[in-house]
């Protein structure tokens, strides 16, 4: 779709006018009935418009105008009632407008959203991190919220990267960005899976680039077990060749230059007090093993500091001094990593502050730019590397968490930036071993007793549950076990972090009506855990087995007295490129022993393999639903 501009419209571009972004279309009204029905499927909200128009006249300054309107369809998208626009000494936000429209698209004049200028800091932190908090009032769904504002960036990045669709459960009617950039200012662009090519319009002194996408549906392809569906997501990144920040000049031409800039910006802020140095020496004692020393100091960090969220990219990219963290006991990710670095420096162990992206997907390694939003620490040793997540008080030593694994990260070294990859926790030694005893009485109720041992990345979820409240623990058990109606008699968690992340859950449950009884028979499903979902026969897409994992279960059913087995499912074995599984059912005296082994390997597949994957998984899902039939003697 070619966008046409007349001379008049160009002049109007400097006076913001969104309705002309798509010439020929009338300004969309926000009536819910105007939303194309296809976008409503599986969506909890629909972005009606999401536009940014940016003007760049010099590398140290840019002006943007932003307008967003979202129709919230139901409670599940109520988070869109809350909106925050961050700013600091280098960013100015003005002309904030916020409006509410009812389901007919009419402006609700007496529904005032509250707009508060709030501090993003805690504890008397004299920083400039602030944000505008916009809270929309509660109304019956569906209704539409609209935000419009202007932003001026000075001495800050002048680029924007544009996500056409930010949330999987939100459809997008219209989303786009426009950059009007003066000639002579160099920048680069990364585009992927766009349905419309960039519209370029050259004027005397500048060029105007426009990207626009529309009618992107919500993605309700829920990932199943370990299968993660890869849908095409329109992506746009823009980065300047040169930039100015905090009065310093930098270049984005390669990762080395980018790393060099941030290293310079953050150096010499890593000094701790003599008291702390003495304390660390005392904790280390006579230990000489470097890894052990790092572990001791890391544990000290975890016990004595806490994480306070301040997004990277706000308020300059400069870390707080290590002395600040020492005194106050908290910091954001860059301050805590820097503090850890300072402590290691005091015992002569060098380390690198490392930039990482916490998004689900890895950064685009071929596009040097600032795609990072989080900071960790890398400690290179002779034989291997220790990686530390300094914001997490409960992670085991040398473990970043699976979401930080297998990613390209930027080490800030004195010789400039170095792009390396973090370990892939999803592909090593991930096991879940379960061992259970199920006693079925003649009434049909059962007691289930046993342990589940998690090793590797699979330990993360139960670990988070372990430090949560009772309700979260019960919900977790509900998600593991197939029976919906059980009560917990005993539940305990035990963590072992010495060698490798691992955790064991011990539980005892009583389940009412575990079996179905007919006058002559007892029928039950011998699969204790939540059965796998069937793979949907939807349109084929690229997919991947998201992580390597081995499941090994042994469940022993003690059958009730007076019954003998009439039917036991047949064992099943299957090996394929997607993984291997085997099911065994064995009668030993009056016990039925069900053993299952699944093995999957992390791997990417294309849509051609989709049918084959269905043929592998669906028989598995069917087997998990098979029944055991016992007959009265």
């Amino acid at each position: 779709m070619k966008l046409k501009y007349t001379k008049n419209l160009i002049l109007l571009l400097t006076v913001i006018n969104f309705s002309n972004m798509k010439a020929g279309n009338p300004t969309p009204t926000y009536a819910v009935s105007n939303i194309p029905k296809a976008l409503l499927l599986d969506a909890n909200a629909v972005v009606r418009t999401d536009q940014m128009i940016q003007t760049i006249d010099k590398i140290s300054e840019s002006k943007s105008h932003v307008k967003q309107a979202i129709t919230i369809l139901n409670e599940k998208a109520s988070r869109f009632r809350f909106h925050s626009i961050s700013y600091d000494a280098y960013i100015k936000i003005s002309n904030i407008k916020a409006n509410v429209y009812d389901s007919n698209g009419e402006l609700v004049s007496n529904a005032r959203p509250s707009i508060i200028d709030a501090s993003g800091s805690f504890d008397n932190l004299a920083t400039d991190n602030r944000f505008w908090a916009i809270t929309f009032p509660v109304r019956k769904y569906p209704y539409t919220i609209e935000i419009e504002y202007e932003q001026t960036n000075k001495e800050r990045y002048i680029f924007e990267s544009w996500q056409f669709q930010n949330d999987d459960d939100v459809a997008v009617e219209q989303s786009g960005a426009q950059i009007s950039i003066k000639k002579g200012i160099g920048f680069k662009v990364y585009e992927k899976d766009l349905t419309h090519p960039c519209d370029t319009f050259t004027l005397e002194d500048r060029t105007v680039y426009t990207w626009q996408e529309e009618n992107i549906p919500a993605k309700k392809i829920e990932d199943l077990l370990m299968i993660s569906f890869q849908s095409k997501k329109p992506t746009l990144h823009v980065a300047p060749d040169e930039f100015t920040m905090n009065g310093m000049n930098g270049s984005m031409k390669d990762w080395g230059s980018i790393g060099k800039f941030f290293y310079e910006l953050n150096k010499d802020r890593d000094n701790i007090s003599p008291e702390l140095q003495a304390k660390l020496k005392q904790l280390i004692g006579s230990t000489t093993d470097k890894k052990e020393i790092i572990r001791i100091i890391y544990q000290y960090l975890q016990k004595n500091t806490r994480y306070v969220s301040i997004q990277l990219g706000i308020g300059g990219f400069q870390t707080l001094e290590a002395s600040f963290v020492e005194k106050k006991g908290f910091g954001d990710c860059k301050a805590l990593s820097n503090y850890m670095k300072a402590m290691l420096k005091s015992v002569n162990i060098p380390s690198y502050v490392t930039y990482i992206s916490s998004e689900k997907d890895d950064i685009i390694a071929s596009f040097p730019s600032d795609q990072f939003d989080h900071v960790i620490l890398c400690v290179p040793l002779n034989q291997d590397t220790v990686w530390l997540e300094c914001t997490n008080q409960s992670f085991p030593f040398n473990y970043l968490g699976s979401s930080n694994g297998n990613k390209h990260v930027l080490l800030l070294t004195e010789n400039g930036g170095k792009l390396v990859k973090t370990p892939n926790y999803k592909s090593i030694n991930n096991t879940i071993l379960s061992n259970f005893n199920v006693n079925i009485d003649f009434i049909g109720n059962a007691t289930v007793k046993g342990t589940i041992k998690y090793k590797g990345a699979s330990y993360e979820l139960p670990k988070a549950v372990m430090i949560s409240d009772k309700e979260t623990k019960e919900q977790y058990l509900n998600s593991i076990f197939a029976s919906p109606n059980f009560s917990v008699k005993n539940l305990s968690f035990k963590e072992d972090t010495r060698s490798y992340p691992s955790l064991a859950i011990n539980c005892e449950l009583t389940v009412r009506d575990y079996v179905s009884k007919t006058p002559k028979r007892i029928v039950f499903n011998p699969y204790l855990f939540e059965p796998s979902a069937y793979m949907p026969k939807k349109e084929k897409m690229d997919f991947m087995i998201a992580y390597s994992q081995t499941f090994l279960d042994t469940v022993t059913f003690n059958l009730p007295f007076g019954y003998k087995p009439e039917f036991i499912p047949a064992p099943l074995k299957h090996q394929s490129q997607f993984g291997n599984f085997s099911y065994d059912f064995n009668m030993v005296q009056d016990k039925l022993i069900v053993t299952r082994k699944f093995e999957f390997m992390e791997k990417k597949f294309t849509r051609e393999d989709y049918e084959g994957c269905i043929d592998f998984f669906n028989p598995l899902a069917s087997t998990e639903r098979q029944l055991v039939v016992l007959k009265k003697e």
Binding site: V32, K37, L40, L41, D42, L73, D102, N104, V108, N110, R112, S114, I116, A118, S119, F122, D123, N124, R139, K140, P142, K220, R306, K328, G329, I467, S468, D469, K470, P484, N485, S487, R512, D513, S516, T518, P519, K520, R521, V523, A533, Y534, P536, K537, E566, F567, S622, R625, Q626, L627, V629
Partner: protein
Amino acid sequence: MKTFFISLLFMLFTLSLSAQSPYPFGTAPRSDMEMTSYPQDEDAAAVYLFDWGSAKLIIGEDYKVNVERHFRIKILKPDGLDYASFKIDAGDRSTFTKFKASTFNLEDGKIVESPLNKKDIFKEKTGNYYVLSFAFPNVKVGSVIECSYTITLGNVYSLYPWNFQHSIPVAYSEFSAIFPGVFRYKVDGHYGNIKVNFNRTEKSMIIGSISTQELNCKWTAGNVPAFEPEIYMASEAELLSRVEFELDGLDLPGVYESITPTYEKLSQKLLDDENFGGILNKSAFLENLVQSITSGLPDNITKIKAIHKYITQNVKWNEAMGIFSRNTSFKTVLKNQSGSVADVNLLFVAMLQKAGITSCPVVLSTRENGSLNPYFAIVSKFNYVIAYAKVDEKEFLMDATNEFRPFNELPPECLNGQGRTIHPRMSKWISLYNNEQQFDQVSVNAELNDNNELLCNVQRYYGSYSAYIIRKKIQVLGKEGYIAYLKNSNGNNEYSDFAFQNLDSIGRSIIISYKVKIKGAVQTTPELSIINPVLFFARTENPFLASVRKYPIDFESPENEVYTLTIQIPQHYTVEEIPSELNLKLEKNGAVFNYSASSDDGSISLKYRFARKETHFEVDNYEAVKEFYNKFIKKQSDLIILKKKDNAVANIQ
């Protein structure tokens, strides 16, 4: 809200009692600093060590309430850190008069204090009202946070509401209300199952030329458990243990000035108000409109339906609540084509009256807002108004805010006990209920084919509230979207031949029919076929799993569900086992469940009915309700077992 207040001339008051926090600031004992869990509730993430408040009515040139608060909270678990920030409603005040807040931590055996700086209190302004918020510094598990503040608020009518309960336990709660005896307050105490102690002391005082008593009313409660929501319960407004006030009147020498009315006098008060009775009376101009809508219609019911339809289609409810109109004439409402619930339903009443139908408004409090005090009227508690009509001895309660509800269906929010009719001669209580319920009937005709798949013809009837939900869904998704949504919810089945009836006939039940081929319904062994007859319509989870229930069970409305199934069995099967009959009953037929199955040559019939008439069950009945639900949900997973006939086994490979 319209004020009933009369202005009074009083001279300056004399010094009098004031309450004081029983605990000096910053004196948390060692044992509290070292506490690692709260003995009365081991799971508590945090606990109020004490929660103290006092509200003192001050008379000067103006009437103000001087509120003092002092509380101390112990953080016990990581989740408890969420309790270290506060938002305080400050009315038209933009600052606290006095403020002190600190975090206390035990470090190396010493108690270390981190005070909160007053400049870190944030003001949020919405319209003319402020909300002040602040977060405690240096908080970790084990910290004790403490805050005391004084603020002067303006609402003399309601003094200051006090919650004994919060979402964390409260070891000790104390509240004092201090005011001159001439001010007579209605005290609405919702204590729930918390034991609250009350004490009243008096001290003489002089106001202007009047000698009176100053009252100090004190409420205390100890070991107050955390308020934890349970499934199917009334709203927090209803159940949270609290005390609220409303100014009844002024007890002056020789005369009692009533400020807010009794239920009996409420009718007249509202009818005298220009935003209630006033707007109802200015309805002469509606004559023509009503005529044009109802002329030629045969009876009153049809006329009511026509007027209801007119309003739902021409006046959009803007979701504003309250019993008073914002206008003084319906002309504005009709011109704007939108209005609050009062605008919409008072207009409805006015038009019904013009059509010669006996009608009057009914004021009520919605479920979310809590129930009305049966003894005295708290005017600010009414937040919704509906229309009453009587035709030939039949009474109807009606609401014109929603085009997808028939005229005699109230929204579930309104099904909250009783409302009050507003009528010059005969105001009374009326039960807020027509015959609203959830009504869902499924009828399945199925055939088992040679591939062990069930081919089903499904007919589903939705009535009352169930029909409303469907109509709303289809309004948003469209018929095609609704079909897609159904298909997605059972991905492995194949659907076809959808038909919809009565979607647009608002008063009638909706019928949706379709064909579906179900693959996973039948499990086979070499000799048997096992079928779950309730297919994917079965409930699987008992909502009442907790072993202990704290609050009464409260459903919005009654429920009616019927399921009938007929399965044709292929010739090479015999019926080996069918589920037995089951009849369950909760006391006084609060709920019934009847299930029966039978088999005939080549076919099996199965039917069950679940009817829950009762919407409220006391805590004493919990075990019985839990057991009833257990049994009837379990019954829905009973199986049909078919056996292959011997000669057939040899033929089928």
